[in-house]
Amino acid sequence: MGTGSLAPSSSKVEFRKTIFGYTPKETPFSVLHPLARIMIVIIFNIPFFIINPFLNACFLLTVLIFYKIAGIPKAYLLKFTPFLFILTFFLFLSFAFFPSVWIQPPYKHVIFQFGFTYHYENFIASATMWVRWMSAIFGILFVLSIIDERDINIALKTLRFPYFFRFIVATALRCFFTFYYDAMQIIEAQKARGLDLDSMGMFRKAKYYAAVMVPLIMIELKKADEMADAADSRGYVTTFKSEEYKRTEYVGHDVVMKLHDKLFIVFAVTSLIAVIIARYLPGIGPIIKWIPDDPAFWTSLIQRVF
């Protein structure tokens, strides 16, 4: 006893496959019922009803903290960087030419002039919009990292969706990844006859889309047929008459909605409603709708801090 070990400490974290990828199985969010976890999406979409960039930044910061708490590998987020860059570019571009409804023109503070005039007002409007979108996107991606297909099934069951509908959703999710792998295989197979899609530009690639879509559709249609055979062979009956046909729900039978789950869901929904109502209330309303439309705000803030 007592000999030090060079091996890392006992934290052998168990991973599981979620919609997003492999993330740790046991997180502080695991205590929540799947439906409650999905409600987290609502919380991070509240910024769409708030204009104040500082308030929205708090939401963004919170979701990033959630990622840290849940131990989600950074590598997954990095995969999304190209998409986020494109989104950021379009957000800033959209407000570059058109005025924002939040700040009435004429705009006074010019940042630069290059054929067209780019004002500070355009910039701050874009930045404010950006924080909202980032909060929402990261929120959705976060929820996708802590739920898997079973959780979706359980959440839909709690909302009383019929099995027939849930079966379709579950099968679609299961097949989604197969589509991706099969598409990769097809792309490789087409390389073997000289069609190197990976090294082509976007427009050239689009020209040959049939070379991937046609084999993919043919293969997946065949698979769908075979899957239906298999489902039938295991006694599955497609029917709307659920009274005639009693089905046991073994999967997720041990997941029960507890008090804290109900409270969380109520909290999420009421927060959203509260913010919507608060926009029209005196006192709070202006704070929610406030935007720093004068660069002097920043200079005075920096002066006060330093």
Binding site: A189, K191, A192, R193, G194, V214, P215, M218
Partner: protein, 286 residues
């Protein structure tokens, strides 16, 4: 001996997720050979052959095709030298007619129209599908689809054909038809054929040379007859020799040579041995 057409020199390969598939493979394949590569799943066979047509690039070491490194040749060009025939033709077929399918690769390479026409007809004649040239590929049988895929590869006039498990899931008749086609392409057109198989009887019947792989390394490499006598090494690679080879080895003490490959060879060998021993007397097992 002339220079090898394909040369793998100390090839190591690691997948992006970290798994290492090849640990220093050296392999030389000469023009005009038929080579079979065997080994259990995970031994690295498919990973290795995918280096020959540039689908994969070695993480260490190099692969030379026609004297030039694969790292320096674009995939489009390599497809003209090394053709890769996939197990499942449905992965590649997408055109409205067999003619379009077979000419697709040529159109990509901007080959002139009249040359395309003659090449397409030639390829389809080789696989025996000239009469189906205007058919819709999806209405063909599985065997015909496979032949269309092969014709599409042949149209690019590759010097080497890599065939990945041509016989898995096929019945005996179709499997032999395909192997006979590759044999014909080798004998009549001098194409080098490299095939991967799990059924050893195809190695013994069609390949003069067999390479046995295990755990990312080459365990055995030599004439098929000799390779299948190395029982211990084969066991290591989880490869079982075909029945005839097993039989030949066990009958060695009765004067049968152990490196027999086919049923016909064995039959001839036994006949010789019997006639030597007994002259013209009928023999029975009692």
């Amino acid at each position: 001996m002339s220079q090898p057409f394909i040369s793998a020199k100390d090839v190591h390969f690691k997948y992006p997720d970290g798994t290492k598939a090849l640990y220093g493979v050296d392999l030389d394949i000469y023009e005009g050979e038929i080579v079979s590569i065997v080994g259990q799943n995970g031994s690295g066979k498919t990973t290795l052959v995918k280096h020959f047509n540039g689908l994969l690039k070695p993480t260490e070491g190099d692969v030379l095709v026609g004297g030039t490194s694969v790292k320096k040749q674009p995939l489009g060009q390599l497809a003209r030298t090394v053709g890769y025939v996939y197990q499942n033709p449905s992965l590649q077929l997408f055109c409205r007619s067999v003619r379009d399918e077979v000419s697709f690769g040529l159109k990509l390479l901007k080959v002139p129209g009249n040359e395309i026409k003659s090449t397409v007809e030639e390829s389809l004649k080789t696989v025996g599908l000239l009469d189906k040239i205007d058919e819709y590929p999806f209405f063909l049988t599985m065997g015909e689809k496979q032949r269309v895929a092969i014709a599409a590869i042949l149209a690019l006039k590759p010097k080497v054909l890599i065939v990945d498990e041509p016989t898995t899931g096929q019945d005996y008749k179709m499997a032999y038809q395909f192997m006979k086609l590759f044999e014909k392409l080798n004998k009549e057109e001098g194409k080098t054929v490299i095939f991967i198989t799990h059924e050893m009887r195809f190695s013994t019947e069609f390949a003069k040379r067999t390479v046995v792989m295990s755990n990312g390394k080459i365990l055995l490499d030599g004439p098929s007859g000799k390779v299948f006598t190395q029982v211990d090494k084969l066991k290591e690679a989880f490869v079982a020799p075909p029945q005839i080879s097993e039989l030949a080895m066990k009958l060695n003490e009765c004067g049968i040579r152990p490196d027999i490959l086919t049923v016909d060879e064995m039959y001839q060998e036994i006949k010789q041995a019997l006639l030597k021993k007994r002259g013209a007397i009928n023999g029975t097992c009692n």
